[in-house]
């Protein structure tokens, strides 16, 4: 998301927007850059040792009409021994594929330290949504609470011990479950992996 934002900002002409990294309140009512990209709203990007953060309420429209919409704060911070991630809000990038194109919203906090990743909160991808309750990934095992919103728009919960655990629906036990967590653990690995290069 940081890269998608900076890509749009990098197309500016010096006056629209008037800053290559921050969309200042000068543009709260919108402006169109020399290449036809439209910018509207406010956003702030910070990249400094120990902190990379993007916060804002902004809309970008590419010359071909594709929109990037941001109403979120995405904050990565780190020390030598601890990484923290906070994602709050919604994003949509029609120029990208997958979940970013359809739009996503989240209210998620996580941290990684010594090879252990722990996350709590929710991620929504259209009708689908996940809710993590102190979910912990360590040593190839996933432990903690995980809830998945089903096609019936209701929540199914599983309390995991190394990837498996009792599944329940509105308090009723549905048996043991070992859900496929590969996509989730991959996403967490990426989120807490090396910082991506910025454009």
């Amino acid at each position: 998301m940081h890269a998608a934002y900076l890509d749009r900002m990098g197309r500016g002409d010096g006056s629209c927007p008037d800053d290559p990294r921050n969309l200042t309140d000068t543009h709260v009512n919108g402006c169109t850059g020399a290449d036809g990209t439209f910018y509207m709203g406010v956003a702030e990007f910070i990249d400094q040792p120990g902190l990379r953060s993007l916060t804002g309420d902004a809309l970008f429209r590419d010359p071909d009409g594709a929109e990037l919409e941001l109403g979120a704060g995405i904050v990565l911070s780190w020390t030598d021994t601890l990484q923290e991630l906070v994602m709050m809000g919604s994003v949509r990038d029609e120029a990208r594929g997958g979940w970013l194109k359809a739009g996503s919203s989240f209210i998620l906090r996580g941290q990684a330290s010594g090879g252990v990743i722990q996350a709590s909160g929710g991620v929504g991808l259209g009708e689908e949504a996940l809710d993590l309750r102190e979910l912990t990934v360590a040593g190839g095992c996933v432990d903690g609470g995980l809830a998945l919103r089903g096609p019936d728009l209701r929540w199914y919960e599983v309390e995991l011990t190394c990837g498996c655990g009792p599944l329940s629906f509105e308090g009723r036990a549905l048996g043991e479950s070992c859900p496929d967590l590969s996509a989730l653990t991959s996403a967490l690995d990426v989120a807490f992996g090396p910082l991506p290069e910025l454009p």
């Binding site: 109403g71 909160g121 689908e128 949504a129 919103r149 728009l153």
Partner: protein, 491 residues
């Protein structure tokens, strides 16, 4: 007191105080304004005068007519307060420039569903259980909606994973009733209580005397008896609304979309399990079902439409017998509002000649507009229907924020606005070549055959002005005066 209530509830119909009934043409006028937003035609008035029994044919036809939906939207707005002029998210946030049109589209979303259900064969329960909303072209262009083709308001379904619960899943409702980090959807539940089960949470007799809950409000809402009096029912319902919880204020993408991943936050933040008045629920869809099953839901619908039809608050004791009859008819009619409106417009209370409520500004604008062809606009904004540019509140209307009930008494600003509207309407009519026939106009406006003494004052105005003004100016001034006749600007 209990005996008194029982006595009232079982009172026979004819025990209600006798009300002088409107003459059939005047009743036709009232029905036409309410159900169509305009005065009856001279031909319609003549027909009813000649044979009062045809009034029933008109009434039933207009109750089934296409204009009723628009009228119900305007009347329900006086109670739902969603036709406000400004929301936290503005037209410009979507790159739109018609701020008036944007506000009306957003604010009318819940009202359109209410009115569509009310004018269809569907049960009123649909307003909280329907699997769809309604959207116009503007909303379909900005929100995640799959809208059926057609002009204007058509059935639309959100594609962002929100549950099905009628108006309870409409952006328009929750954009009007916002919340924040400390309120946590409780204000929204209070609105649901007021609008759908006719319970004013803030009217509960709670005393905080001698209590200091400032140290820990979070704890107090769970264990201080004064707080629990309201929070025990507010908080569990509020927990079901967190899919509409936003974490970035004033953000169009945040406020325009439902957030399924936040649904479960409510029980964490509020430390309660979701419920509606003690009945456990699992999410928003259950909330809609629970509201529809609430024993207050049906009576509240009856009360709502009675107040909008009678143009006065109901009297819990004095109207109890009538409301009980109406409720019986409503329930027997499978909670169809068509049945209720048919019953309501037949009540002595509706047909009473004893109340002359001022016509609301939207109705004056539409009725005078139909009569004279005049639309009072500025920058394409109808001035009688909004406030930043217009005069809605000054004319006695409801904007849903500063003014929450229609003006029921004459007032200075209303008088000045009506004077301006009448003069402009009359001038426009004369410019279009209208001819002034005082008797015919009086009949059309007021629905009473004028006595000489009724029309003579206007004839005197016309004659006195004719000496110094052009004929058109004199006629316009006379028409403007008659438009503002006290009997013409009241219900």
């Amino acid at each position: 007191m209990t005996l008194l209530l029982l006595a009232c509830a079982s009172a026979p119909e004819d025990s209600a105080p006798s009300l002088e009934a409107l003459a059939p043409p005047r009743l036709l006028r009232r029905l036409s304004l309410d159900l169509r937003g305009r005065f009856p035609s001279v031909e319609e008035l003549d027909a009813v005068e000649a044979d009062p029994s045809v009034l029933e044919d008109y009434r039933l036809a207009w109750l089934a007519g296409p204009e009723l939906e628009d009228q119900l939207v305007l009347r329900l707005a006086e109670r739902w307060y969603t036709r406000v002029d400004r929301f936290d998210i503005e037209a410009a946030d979507y790159g739109l420039y018609d701020t008036y049109g944007f506000a009306r589209s957003v604010g009318e979303e819940p009202l359109r569903l209410l009115a569509r259900v009310a004018t269809s064969d569907a049960s009123w329960d649909e307003v909280v259980t329907a699997d769809h909303s309604l959207a116009d072209e503007r909303l379909a262009g900005i929100w995640p909606l799959d809208r059926e083709p057609g002009e204007g308001w058509t059935v639309a379904r959100y594609t962002d994973g929100r549950p099905h619960a009628g108006v309870l899943t409409s952006n328009g409702l929750w954009w009007r009733y916002t919340t924040d980090i400390s309120n946590m959807n409780r204000r929204r539940v209070a609105a649901v209580e007021r609008l759908l089960v006719c319970h004013e949470v803030l009217d509960r007799p709670v005393s905080f005397e001698g209590r200091d809950v400032s140290a820990s409000v979070e704890d107090a809402v769970h264990d201080d008896p004064a707080c629990v009096a309201c929070h025990s029912s507010l908080d569990p319902a509020a927990a079901s609304l967190f899919g509409f919880w936003t974490v970035v204020d004033y953000s169009a993408i945040e406020a325009g979309h439902y957030h399924p991943e936040r649904e479960r936050l409510g029980e964490d933040y509020l430390e309660v399990e979701a419920a509606w008045h003690g009945q456990p629920i699992s999410g928003l869809e259950d909330l809609g079902q629970a509201v529809a099953a609430d024993p207050r839901f049906g009576p509240c619908a009856v009360r709502t439409f009675a107040e909008l039809s009678w143009r006065r608050p109901v009297d819990p004791l004095g109207d109890a017998a009538r409301l009980a009859q109406l409720l019986e008819a409503f329930e027997a009619g499978d909670r169809r509002v068509q049945v209720l409106l048919e019953a309501l417009t037949a009540t002595p209370e509706y047909r009473s000649a004893e109340r002359l409520e001022p016509l609301p500004p939207d109705l004056l604008a539409s009725a005078w507009g139909d009569l004279t062809g005049f639309e009072w606009t500025l920058a394409n904004v109808p001035l009688m229907d909004e406030d930043p540019l217009g005069l809605r509140v000054l004319a006695g209307g409801v904007d849903g924020e500063r003014s929450t009930s229609p003006q029921r008494e004459p007032g200075l600003t209303r008088t000045l606005v009506l004077e301006q509207l009448a003069e402009r309407s009359a001038t426009h009519a004369m410019d279009q070549g209208a001819e002034l026939d005082l008797e015919r106009l009086y009949w059309r406006l007021i629905a009473e055959r004028p006595e000489v003494s009724d029309v003579d004052p206007y004839r005197l105005v016309l004659e006195s002005l004719s000496t110094g003004e052009t004929a058109d100016e004199a006629q316009a001034a006379t028409l403007a005066a008659m438009l503002r006749d006290p009997l013409a600007v009241t219900w």
